[in-house]
């Protein structure tokens, strides 16, 4: 057994088990027969209840003895088949990990075909299928709601999946890619490079292009900094770049929030966002169903956000 670093504990357990079994057998044998003086009869047992209630030392039925013997025989067989006697391993090669893998394989064999049915269907079509949506929802509830919320509307730092605003693009292919491979969105920290004043200026410029109330003077000062630095990702018009997941700054949708304080915080410290990849964990067909479900959230006339 590889669970133990030295053989000691294996031997320790085995000795206790074997000694116990032998002890049980000896005990059984010693309790099956009593020695009495000739002529003496089986006695009344030592205890008394209710003043006068006593118990005879009656012989038990013989089949009880056989049940005891059977349990010992069973124990020996069981110990040989399963890893009860640690040092000897076990004949069946049983481990709890192996048992888990067997269960998973069994479940895959049973449910795999149900998922696979949709694998060759285009995502747009799967997203319209009622049964597929129910399955997708269950998958979503299991794997996605921890970040995106039960209604898929996200939370601070976690994108809303029900609107039509997509960091990396909302085509079926892009969504599938996002679910399969995950995403890693990074916004560098500019606090040290810009200094406090400049950060505030840039923030006000961002609020200007987003159509929010802002300080005109700061915004005009921030524009030049934006055009030098921020354009690289967010583009000159502020509409972002879906290839690298740079958000559109001109709409109402904010991943972390659109107040001045939050924008300042974002520019100062940067942001680091991770969506984990699911392909290796869930397999192709489940990822396909999930992508279709997510696609359907904003592209299905029945479920789309109003």
């Amino acid at each position: 057994m590889t669970d133990f670093y030295s053989g000691f504990w294996g031997i320790f357990i085995a000795v206790i088990v074997i000694v116990s079994l032998i002890w049980l057998a000896v005990l059984l044998k010693s309790q099956a027969v009593i020695k009495l003086k000739k002529g003496e009869k089986a006695a009344v047992l030592d205890h008394k209840w209710d003043g006068d209630l006593q118990e005879y030392n009656n012989p038990l039925p013989g089949w009880w003895l056989w049940l005891f013997i059977l349990t010992i025989v069973f124990a020996v067989g069981y110990l040989a088949l399963y890893p009860g006697l640690v040092i000897f391993g076990n004949a069946k090669g049983w481990t709890s990990t192996g048992q888990f893998k067997q269960e998973v394989a069994k479940a895959d064999a049973k449910y795999g075909p149900i998922y696979d049915k949709y694998l060759n269907m285009p995502i747009t079509k799967v997203s319209q299928d009622k049964e597929a949506r129910e399955m997708g929802q269950r998958l979503f509830y299991t794997y996605c709601i921890q970040c995106h919320g039960a209604d898929a509307r996200g939370a601070k730092g976690f994108p809303n999946l029900t609107d039509s605003d997509w960091l990396y693009g909302g085509t079926p292919e892009k969504i599938l890619e996002t679910v399969e491979k995950g995403r890693h969105g990074q916004m560098p920290a500019f606090g040290a490079a810009f200094g406090e004043e400049k950060v505030r200026d840039v923030a006000n410029y961002v609020m200007q292009i987003a159509g929010k109330p802002h300080n005109e003077l700061r915004a005009s000062r921030g524009q030049s900094t934006y055009q030098q630095v921020c354009v690289a990702c967010h583009a000159a018009d502020g509409k972002g770049n879906k290839d690298i997941g740079a958000p559109n700054l001109t709409d109402k949708t904010w991943l972390y929030g659109g107040s001045e304080a939050t924008i300042i915080e974002t520019v100062t410290n940067g942001r680091n966002n991770v969506m984990p990849p699911w392909k290796d964990f869930l397999g192709d067909s489940k990822v396909h169903l999930l992508a279709a479900y997510v696609y359907g959230l904003s592209n299905n006339p029945e479920t789309a956000s109003k």
């Binding site: 309790q31 099956a32 027969v33 009593i34 020695k35 009495l36 003086k37 000739k38 009869k41 089986a42 006695a43 009344v44 005879y56 030392n57 009656n58 012989p59 038990l60 039925p61 013989g62 089949w63 009880w64 003895l65 929802q137 509830y141 709601i145 921890q146 970040c147 995106h148 919320g149 039960a150 209604d151 898929a152 509307r153 996200g154 939370a155 601070k156 976690f158 029900t162 109402k252 029945e302 479920t303 789309a304 956000s305 109003k306």
Partner: protein, 479 residues
């Protein structure tokens, strides 16, 4: 008496080395051959065997609402009891049922002693049916003893084969019926006819068949004596007013044989003629004249046997009879035994029983066939909607615990102006016994939904049947 009894204990001497002998504390089973008995109590037993078994074998075949009337569908965890449907959430009713059984047993045992054991316990019932078969095939006690002690010949072989075949058929049918309570019996019957039983079904049919055959055919009184827990603890529920089967020692002793017509009283004899019929008919093989013993299952076979002898002897019946310890002592006339039922112990059991029963029935009547589970989103505590109202997000699970399809409407109350917003259709259509999961957003005025959590209620009502409605508590987090 105790001296006498000590020597009755059957012991096997293993080794004798002069001064000491070694005694084996396990003994091989001594087979009991109960004699056929007729009489009032036996008629009652026949009645109970027929009544309970008619119920047991027939009920799974009853249909109601297009499904089996009594079905404990373990695979889908749906339990149908006539018009009622129970789901795992109704588990509390099982607790109530177990409580009822326990207190019912306590009360019943205190009043009636072991009447359950003697007339209604499955172990007794199946043993009785097996004994009938045995008697029809092999004859009564003397011929059975003779047959068992006789050499193995074709007659013995034939009789034993017939008996065991009949036993096994009855056992298998019992096992099949039992499984039929857990899986639809008509489909099971069909599957069995075309030999397409599932592995587990076949296993349990054989398992319960084997249990019936083993317990009723071979173990019999040993189940009562060595395995049954009730037999062990019923003594704790007995008191001196409990109904017991007892031999009237004052009237019967001294026992002994006599000539008919002779003045036995002058010879110092009691009414017991020591015919030992009461011992011969006893299915657990005890002598009731030794007093009340824990083996006695209160079946009253000895009463029937003794009464028939008393009739023949022209003595009054009831040398062995149902009585109570106090009545037997002469504390009160036996006619008054019924009055003694109103003793404090029984009254207490009765009150507890009544409370449990009333609560259970009330709760069953008020039970709503819809079950709701509400989970607030744990990711986003509170969000701001576009118009500045506060938004909380919930997952509402509606389980239709009815056998008809229903469409439910969800509303919320608890804060003025609370808005319910749902994606998709605003009414939830749930198939019978199915669960639907919907996402719901509640929006509240930030002026009212201040910082902290507010108690609110979801109200789920079936549109097509408004009396199906339930209120479920939840919280709304403000600011």
């Amino acid at each position: 008496m105790s001296k006498q009894k000590l020597q009755d204990i059957p012991v096997t001497v293993v080794k004798d080395d002069g001064e000491y002998e070694q005694i084996h504390l396990y003994t091989s089973h001594r087979k009991i051959y109960p004699r056929w008995v007729t009489g009032l109590w036996n008629n009652w037993r026949i009645f109970f065997v027929v009544a309970t078994q008619l119920f047991f074998y027939a009920v799974p075949w009853l249909q109601i609402n297009g499904r089996q009337a009594l079905l404990f569908d373990l695979s889908t965890r749906k339990f149908y009891i006539f018009n009622l449907l129970f789901l795992p959430q109704d588990f509390i009713y099982l607790t109530a049922l177990l409580l009822l059984c326990a207190f019912g047993l306590f009360a019943w045992t205190t009043i009636g002693g072991r009447l359950w054991c003697g007339y209604a316990c499955p172990q007794t019932i199946y043993t009785e049916m097996f004994l009938w078969i045995e008697k029809w095939v092999e004859g009564d006690r003397p011929s059975r003893i003779k047959l068992d002690n006789g050499p193995l010949n074709t007659r013995k072989l034939r009789l034993k084969t017939v008996k065991h075949t009949a036993w096994i058929v009855l056992s298998l049918w019992t096992g099949f019926t039992f499984v039929g309570y857990f899986t639809p019996i008509r489909a099971l019957w069909h599957d069995m006819l075309i030999l397409a039983l599932g592995g587990w079904e076949l296993f349990w049919i054989l398992f319960y068949g084997f249990a019936t055959y083993g317990n009723a055919g071979w173990m019999r009184e040993q189940v009562c004596k060595y395995m049954c827990p009730y037999a062990r603890f019923q003594g704790a529920m007995f008191d001196a007013d409990t109904l017991i089967v007892s031999y009237d020692e004052k009237r019967g002793e001294a026992r002994g044989s006599r000539k008919k017509g002779a003045d036995y009283k002058a010879e110092g004899l009691g009414d017991c003629i020591d015919c030992t019929l009461c011992v011969q008919v006893c299915p657990v093989g005890i002598d009731i004249r030794d007093g009340l013993q824990y083996e006695c299952i209160g079946c009253a076979a000895c009463i029937d046997a003794c009464d028939s002898v008393m009739d023949k002897m022209d003595y009054p019946r009831g040398l062995i009879r149902y009585t109570s310890e106090n009545a037997l002592k002469g504390d009160y006339p036996e006619r008054q035994m019924l009055k003694r039922i109103g003793r404090p112990r029984v009254l207490m059991y009765g009150i507890v029983l009544a409370i449990i029963m009333v609560t259970t029935i009330t709760s069953l009547v008020l039970r709503q066939p819809v079950k709701v589970n509400i989970a607030r989103d744990r990711v986003a505590l509170v969000r701001e909607a576009d118009d500045g109202w506060l938004e909380n997000n919930y997952r509402v699970q509606i389980e239709n615990a009815d056998e008809a399809r229903h469409v439910y409407r969800i509303t919320a109350e608890g804060l003025p102006g609370l808005r319910v917003i749902m994606d998709g259709p605003s009414e939830v259509d749930v198939a019978p016994t199915e669960i639907q999961d919907v996402g719901i957003r509640l929006q509240a005025d930030p002026q009212i939904a201040t910082k902290g959590s507010h108690d609110i209620h979801f109200v789920i009502t079936a549109i097509d049947k408004p009396e199906i409605s339930t209120r479920e508590k939840a919280t709304f987090i403000g600011q």
